[in-house]
Amino acid sequence: MTEARRDTVLARIRAALGDRHRTRDELATLDRRLNAPPVGVRPKLHDDPLSQFITKAQANLCTVERIASLQMLVPAILRLLPPPPQKPDISVAPALAHLGWPADWSINFGAGRRTEPLSVTLAVAGIAETGSVVLRSAPASPTTLNFLPDMHVVVLRADDVVAHTEDAWARLRAEGGDWPRTVNIIAGPSRTADVGGIIVRPAHGPKSVHLVLCDS
């Protein structure tokens, strides 16, 4: 049944294209195009990649903070949290679990929860062209942390900022291993204009996105 449906549709496509058989050369050309994807015309950057990344991210309504090293991350997060006596209750991607988080905080090192005040995740790249960050799913990097929190804190190494989306693909390809299950490119908080054309933040995802750029 399934096979029959597949054959019907493919036969219709081939008939529509004139039932022409591809020569071995033609097939090789198509394969080459897939294995070494050509890069087409891209928007020129107006600045060096890192500066343009920051400008664009801010224009997307992300807040941006720079820290010298990952050791400064915990204090940076503390500044984002409501003041004591409230005990911090946040989610942190397991990829960042080793950073010396205070023992008295309640921290979920796992998938996102239904109510999620703040999550901290690690991006694999930043894209200067649009001021976006790229996050890939992995056991140490659950996708739900990107969408469920009210505030999404994304940690990004300054070295990982690339010029264009195509450069981010190249990085992910170069990582080897299998292509990730989920790749999220994120350019600011969640929003909608479906009620009366008025822009409202948030819709279903985070109300705010805070980028922590780490220099080393």
Binding site: R5, R6, T8, V9, R12, I13, R14, A15, A16, L17, R22, L27, L30, R33, L34, P37, V39, G40, V41, P43, K56, N60, G110, R114, E129, S132, S137, A138, P139, T143, T144, N146, F147, E166, W169, D178, W179, P180, R181, T182, V183, N184, I185, A187, P189, S190, R191, T192, A193, D194, V195, G196, G197, I198, V200, P202, A203, H204, G205, P206
Partner: protein, 473 residues
């Protein structure tokens, strides 16, 4: 698919009097047209990108079997499943079977025009499933039991007050008993309702802006984050997509994504671009257990074979409708088709049967603005003209129109006679409008003059004016 193109004229004659609709549609005219113009002006590479985008699509379509098979292999290699559906009914059956097999009760949906095209919600609801659209706009039209009136902004026809009424009526069971009229509070209700749905969903259905043969991924773009939560939190993720959605590589998708965001909303990128590739991997803390892609033909191979192939380049940005004087005058619902505006006027007759969507290709003034703004340079006016021609050949155009056009074409191929007849025509019209300069009722065109006056001709015929100009130095 809801197609009732036959009543287009009667619906169209009512639309200009609908004040609410006119107000909403004017937002499109001012907001999106200006935003797109700004975004395009800010990008010197834009024209080159349009050419690149059209070329990528043409290359893919010319090798569609190759790329779909590669896409399929990449999905299967990563533990996903690909299904092929020749028509709407088969596509619905495939999804229903997955729902039955997995014992599903609740289905969350990200925005998918193809699922609207194949009537998926109705099919699943008939099986007793709870089907929830998660995109705020799609959810609103679902509650209102309406169809989207625009492919990018489904609620462009709805006022805030109407939405307020709707939520007041439907959200009591979710614990919202107060009536709210503020956009932010209305959306907060949607957010709260959907949080519960995402976590309880058995099946999450999304569309695909692109399918990538290189990796076996589907790409969706959203600003809300709804499609992204839909495909991550449900036990099973099903993608419904037309066969024309495949592109060779991620780099090709990047070119088209740039065109899409600028043409649809006048922005450089949406908040979210999400690639999904297969089911949950070992050790993953989230993600669906099953991943399915349903590839839908439903009339597309018919387009692929002939003069309508360029229509399959369409990336569903909606720019052609935002710039269409007819769409802006009558609104999306008048088309009574999932795809309205210029792209819909071509697609609908190709996807549905000709007779059902007979009138749509005529809802066009051939002004050409749609083609000028189409990011993948689809020659929409040519395609519409061609459809009209085919309808004529097939005898779909009947009665007075056929007789009138027949007389006209007989005359138009006889220049001397044509000149005499038009001169006579001008004189008659001038005589009819002699008192006011306008004609309030014209025999044989009563429907047309019922809504407006015909200005009486001011000068002579075009031929006479042309001849006179040529004589002048």
């Amino acid at each position: 698919m809801l197609v009732n193109g036959k009543d287009f004229s009667s619906r169209a004659s009512k639309a200009p009097a609908d004040a609410g609709l006119q107000q909403q549609v004017s937002n499109l005219k001012t907001g999106f047209v200006a935003a797109r113009a700004r975004a395009v002006a800010a990008l010197p590479e834009y024209e080159a990108m349009r050419d690149a985008g059209a070329a990528i699509k043409d290359h893919t379509l010319a090798n569609l079997d190759f790329y779909l098979e590669r896409f399929e292999r990449a999905v299967v290699d990563r533990g996903g499943h690909v299904h092929w559906a020749a028509d709407a009914e088969e596509a619905c059956r495939i999804v229903r079977e997955i729902c039955t097999r997995t014992g599903a009760r609740t289905v969350t949906k990200g925005k998918s025009m193809v699922s609207e095209e194949i009537g998926l919600n109705e099919a699943l609801e008939a099986d007793g499933l709870d089907v929830v659209e998660t995109d705020a706009g799609e959810y609103i039209v679902q509650l209102a039991k309406e169809a989207p009136s625009h492919i990018v902004m489904p609620t462009v026809h709805k006022t805030t007050n109407e939405i307020s009424d709707l939520f007041f009526e439907h959200h009591r069971r979710h614990g919202f008993s107060e009536r709210v009229t503020d956009a932010a509070e209305l959306i907060a209700q949607v957010r709260s309702v959907m949080r519960e749905k995402y976590f309880s969903a058995d099946i999450g259905i999304t569309g695909a802006n692109f399918l990538v043969a290189e990796t076996g991924s589907n790409i969706i773009v959203t600003n809300e984050g709804n499609g992204d939560l839909t495909c991550t939190l449900a036990r099973v993720h099903i993608v419904t997509a037309g066969i024309e959605k495949v592109v060779p590589t991620l780099n090709d998708a990047s070119v088209l994504l740039r065109l899409l965001a600028r043409s649809a909303l006048g922005i450089e990128t949406t908040s979210y671009t999400t690639l999904s590739t297969g089911p949950r991997r070992p050790g993953d803390a989230d993600g669906p257990e099953e991943y399915h892609v349903v590839l839908v033909d439903n009339g597309r191979t018919k387009m692929l074979s002939g003069a309508f192939r360029p229509m399959l380049r369409c990336i569903r940005c909606g720019a052609c409708m935002n710039h269409c004087p007819v769409y802006l005058a009558v609104g999306g619902h008048t088309y009574a088709s999932v795809y309205p505006g210029p792209m819909g006027a071509v697609l609908t007759p190709m996807i549905a049967r000709h007779e059902a969507a007979n009138e749509l290709p005529h809802a066009c003034t051939l002004n050409g603005r749609c083609q000028q703004v189409c990011p993948v340079k689809i020659p929409l006016p040519d395609l519409l003209r061609r459809l009209r021609h085919e309808q004529w050949e097939d005898g779909f155009i009947k009665g007075r129109s056929r007789w009138g056009l027949g007389v006209w074409s007989w005359l138009a191929t006889r220049p001397a006679l044509y000149r005499v007849a038009t001169r006579l025509g001008v004189q008659v019209l001038r005589w009819l409008g002699r008192s006011r300069g306008r004609i309030g009722h014209l025999p044989l065109a009563g429907e047309w003059t019922a809504g407006r006056d015909l200005p009486a001709p001011q000068g002579t015929t075009f031929h006479a004016a042309w001849a006179k100009r040529k004589r002048q130095p």
